[in-house]
Structure formats: C-alpha cells, structure tokens
Amino acid sequence: MSETPRARILARLRAAPRRPAPERPHWEPPAFGAGAKAKFRAMMEASHADVHEVTRADWPDRLRTILANKGVERVLYAPATLAGAQLASAWGDGNSPRLMAYDRPVEEMKEVLVHQVQAAVTMARGGIAQTGSLVLWPTADEPRLMSLLPPIHVALVEESAIGDSLAVTMAAQGWAAGMPTNAVLISGPSKTADIEQTLAYGVHGPKELIVLVISDEAK
C-alpha cells in the first residue's frame, strides 16, 4: 500500500464524528502580591532547597564560604556569562574551591562533568512563587548539564524576577513566541520516593540545590 501510516491515522481521525471544541472556562492562578518572595522561599525550602538572600556585590564571597564549608573542591562555572565573569574576578586565583569552566562541548569534557565536578553555578531566568520553582533557559554559554550533573547546583535568581505562577510568567515573558532548545523548571534537588514512599535526595541529579536570591535593595 502506498499510503503512509501518517495518512491512514489522520484519515481515521478525520472520519470520526466532529465534536465541538469547548471554550476554556475562567481560571486564575494564585497571586501573592508583596508576599511572592516569601512564598517562593517557603515553597523552595519545603522541597529541601537551601535559600540564601545575597546582594549583587557579596554573592561570590558568600558562595565561596558556603561551598568551602561543604568541602567542595571543584566548581563548574560558565565563563562567558555576566555571573560567571563576576565569579571569576571575585574568586581571584589560588582560592579553594577551584573554578572549572564549561567552555567546550560535552563530548570533550564528559569525564569531568559526569564524575569530577562537585558543584555548578548558573543563573536562573526567574522564579515561581506558587510552586517554589526556578526557571532556567540554558544557553550556549550556560549549558543544560550544569544544573543536572554536579551533586550541588547553585542557582542565582534576581528577586525582581520572581513571579507568582508559571501561567503569569509564561504570558509576561512571551514564551509561546519562541521557545529555547530547552527550558526547565527546577523545584528542589533531585529526589525519589520509589522505595516505600520514603523520600531520598540526589538519585540522579543534584543532591543539593542552593538558591541565591539577589535582593532588589542592592541595586
């Protein structure tokens, strides 16, 4: 038969009786007003993330202390981003933990990414208060695996970028007009409850999620 599976499937669907397409009834996602940041923090912490309020000037130092206290020795960063540049300049040299750049394709540094780095630092495009989620749109400069392979993921988010809900964020930022290769919402460290509904963290992704909220006051 010359017809393709595609043609046959579509023909069967088209042969079915037509049915009216209902309108979407009114629904409004929750709004938190001035309480958005507090809600974001509470929800993030409920899903086991570690939230710190930082300023634009002090976050690299704060982060170094946090990571050093955890005994982290190798930190992955994105040198071509603004945050990466700030991190590198504040870090100076000879300071522990050591910064490692994600500056080549994954194929050329798989061993480092999969087995060696202990933490990675990325920006988040925003935050969602309702669910305590970070919005990440990874880029060529700040690749996808940074928030996934290392045992600790550090995400920076501007307080002003924390919105009420996914629905509002998507609409306000015009996502439907052009989606990136990958967009991801992250709400806590990797977890599972597959064994007797007992929560365990870090099953495949990061075991810890550290969120640095850059406060508005410090602008």
Binding site: P17, P25, H26, A140
Partner: protein, 478 residues
C-alpha cells in the same frame, strides 16, 4: 509477566492477589499515603473545581481538533529540527525506534520512564535485536532488575517493600551488601546508573504533553533521570500516544497544576523539562538529533466514538487507581496489561479488544471514586457501563474492538426471562410465589447460585412474597 499474556484473567488473578497479605499491605500503605497527600493539595474545593474544569476543557478542546493539532505539532517540531514519525501499531513503533537506533549505530540505550514504551514492550524488542536498554527511573530500574512489569503507572515498583528491594539489590548489584537503608539503596542505584548515562548512545523517553503551538515536548519527573536521558546521549527518541497533544503552550500551566498534585500530592515535580529542538550550532550539550514517534495503536479507533473518546483525555496521573477500592486490594499486575486501575479498565478493552479484556469493565463497583478525583473529568464509571453494554450488545457502528464477544446464551436467556417476569404481573406473581415456596430447597451448589454462595451465605427466601404481605396489611393497588 504481562509481556506474553494477551488475555485478561482478572478473576483468577484477583483471587491470588487477595490472598497475598504482603502485597495487600504494600498497596494499602502506599495508596493511603497518596490519597492523603492529594487531599491536602486540593483542600480548597473552589480552586479544585475551577482548575479541573479548565483542565478538562483543555483536553477536550485538544481532542476536538486532534488531526489538525497533530499536523501543527508535526510542522512546528519539524521546523524546530525534531524529526517526526508516525506508527499505527506498537510493532510499527518498535520498528521505527529500532531503525533510528540502527541508523545511528546505537548499541546502548538509557531510558526515562515511559508507559507507552511499556505498552510497546520496546525493551524486549530492542534486546532481541542486540541493543541494550537500561531503565533509569529508580522504580523502573528495580522492576527491570526483578524482571517484572510496572504495577502502577506513576510508581512502578509500589508492590515491593524495602526488604524485597534490599534483597534484589544485594543480589544484582555487584559489591553491594544487604541494606534496608533507603538512602544507601538510592545511592547504589545512582552509582550503578551514572556510567550508563555517560556511555549511552541514545536516550529514549515518553512525553507528558506535546505542544502543537510551539513544537515543544514537556516531560515531568523528580529524579533527573528523564533530563539526563534526554540531554547527555547524542540521540534522543521521544515516544508518545497521539492523544497527548495540546493546542497552546499556555495550556501546560493549568495541567501542570493538576498532574503532580493529583499524582503524588506534590505542588509540582522537581523537574519540568521542555524540549523544543536538538542541540543548535554553538550549544555545548544536548542531543544532536531528536526524534518524536507518534503512536496510534488503537487510539484513533477510540476517537471514532465521541463518548468513548473521553478516555483519551487522560493525563496519566494515576489518581483513579490510587483511590480505587478494587485496585488497592488487588494491585496492578492483576490487570495483566500495561494500564491498571480504573483508567486501564476503560482503556485496555478498547486498545486490546473486549474479546481479550472484556472482564475488566466488570472489575468495578461503580463507586465513582475515580470520577470524583479525575483531574480532567473523565466519566470513568459511565464508560465502564458503556463497555459492559458493548461487550454484549455492540452499537451499530461497532465502536469497540471485540464488541459482542461477551454475549452468552445463558446470560441472554436469563435477562430475557427477567424482562418477561418484570414486564408481566402474572408472570411476576407466579415466579415470586414459586421462589417463596421452593427457594429455600435449592442447594447452594445450584447453577448460577454457586458463584454467589461460594463466598457468601445463601440468601434465605421469605415464606411469603412482598405482595402477599402488602395485601395482608390492607394495601390495594397503587
């Protein structure tokens, strides 16, 4: 286990499950937990009502435009660089996936959790062709090690307790001592699978929502294995049923507010992974090729009946099975096929045919718990009744595969007799008078009474009929 069995045998399997105290305890504990966590998420009935009405309309709206949306999805995915394939049957879908893997020279595959690939029995097909497929979701990994099928569509190894998993891991994972510590078991799985992700030639995943408007595949999960499977290997193949399409990207938000809350009582899953294209020039990671396989496998036939096509609204949250008094007591394997519980009881007979799964619509008390919790308002009990009818009296359009196969001479005669008796006062009086007279003499082992009395006391017939009693009390007609 389910892979070879093509005929449902619910009654016999339920009997075995009901007599397994360990299995029943494992399910009871899990379902109690899931029910209370879901209830806490939807404490505000007004919010639930509005959100669920929106969710149901979004799904109904997408289905009403299904052929157009599938074409739009294909066009937008293709424009984004995702290669789209169509498959009418699971065999065809298996062949498509195998073809893509062979063309890429892939030998090792890492899999994210996907019920559609369970429906296809994809792993067995790949292994039969020399390709190793490793499940990476912890629950799926556990049952793959055990050589079993999932017993729940969200928590596949829910039928196993900690001790059983501890034994399995000690037996199958080299160098691991027996431990019931969940953190240690989880760490062992992480260590065992890390290298598998890195070495995989391809990742295979399912899809939760496919957005026609933007050509985006939305995948949700908690572990990160889904993101790894779709990001680290050089090739990603996503497989989905044709019904998973959504019209607008904005439709994702309310459905995401329904799905994880209904499924596991979480406000949202740890990861919501939205994939719209393969790696672009200059990007440092992500697969260089992404394929989407659209599987029909009986869904277009379900679509042909407007009432039954509500089945296709399902977003696979499993709330119906978590709340089902039957599922909770017998567990997922009793249902033989991939989709257990109330959604399985309406989906399986339609996909596989009433001739091989016709007993499933009867494995229900029609208590409506499933309909009450369904986040997209699928009228599951009504569809169960419709399928029971189709099994004995198929509609003119022969809506369901195997329709009419449940027809039996004895049952038809029984109902014909019942109709005659209730339609004619004289026949009714004669029959009830006769039962009052000789009913108690019938042995418990009499045909048609035997099944009832095997687990219950034989009913005791009153010496006088209701009509006689009423007359004695002085009631006349009407």
């Amino acid at each position: 286990m389910a892979a070879d069995a093509r005929i449902s045998n619910f009654g016999a399997k339920a009997h075995i499950a009901l007599n397994d105290p360990k299995l029943r305890a494992n399910f009871r504990r899990a379902m109690d937990g899931l029910m209370s966590k879901r209830a806490a998420q939807f404490a505000d009935p007004d919010e639930w009502t509005a959100l669920r009405a929106r969710g149901a309309a979004i799904r109904a709206r997408a289905l009403a435009q299904l052929p157009e949306l599938l074409e739009r999805l294909e066009a937008n995915c293709t424009a984004n660089g995702i290669q789209v394939h169509w498959a009418e049957t699971t065999q065809e879908a298996n062949a498509v996936v195998l073809g893509i893997l062979q063309a890429a020279g892939a030998k090792r595959v890492i899999k994210g959790k996907s019920m559609v690939t369970e429906e296809m029995h994809l792993n067995a097909h790949l292994e039969g062709n020399g390709i190793e497929a490793v499940e990476s979701d912890l629950g799926e990994y556990i049952i793959q090690l055990a050589g079993e099928a999932p017993s729940h569509i969200v928590m596949p190894c829910i039928h196993k307790n900690k001790a059983e998993i501890a034994e399995l891991f000690a037996d199958k994972i080299a160098g691991l001592a027996y431990t019931e510590n969940v953190d240690e078991l989880t760490a062992a799985a992480r260590a065992a699978l890390r290298g598998r992700f890195a070495d995989a030639d391809a990742g295979i995943s399912g899809v939760n929502f496919a957005v026609a408007e933007t050509g985006t595949l939305v995948l949700i999960e908690n572990e990160g294995n889904g993101r790894l499977s779709t990001t680290l290997p050089p090739l990603h193949i996503a497989v989905t049923g044709i019904e998973k399409v959504l019209e607008k990207l904005a439709d994702v938000a309310p459905l995401l507010s329904l799905l994880p809350r209904s499924a596991t009582g979480q406000p949202v899953t740890t990861y919501v992974n939205m994939i719209s294209s393969p790696r672009k020039p200059g990007e440092k990671d992500g697969p260089r090729a992404v394929h989407l396989v659209l599987l029909d496998s009986g869904r277009s036939r379900v679509y042909g009946d407007v009432e039954l096509s509500d089945t296709l609204r399902c977003i696979r949250c499993a709330a119906c099975m978590n709340h089902c008094p039957v599922y909770t007591r017998v567990g997922g394997h009793t249902y033989t096929f991939t989709y257990p519980g109330p959604i399985g009881k309406i989906l399986t007979p339609q996909l596989e045919g009433l001739d091989c799964a016709g007993d499933q619509p009867h494995a229900s008390t029609l208590c409506r718990a499933c309909a009450d919790v369904c986040p997209v308002e699928i009228p599951i009990p009504d569809l169960l009744v419709r399928l029971r009818t189709e099994a004995v009296k198929p509609s003119a359009a022969a809506a369901v595969k195997g329709g009419g196969s449940g027809k039996s001479r004895a049952e038809s005669l029984g109902w014909a007799g019942w109709t005659l008796m209730y339609g004619h006062p004289l026949a009714y009086r004669l029959a009830t008078w006769g039962m009052a007279l000789v009913g108690n003499w019938l042995p418990a082992s009499a045909p048609m009474l035997k099944q009832w009395t095997s687990v219950r006391t034989k009913p005791k017939f009153a010496a006088r009929t209701l009509h006689q009693l009423a007359r004695e009390k002085g009631y006349g007609h009407e």
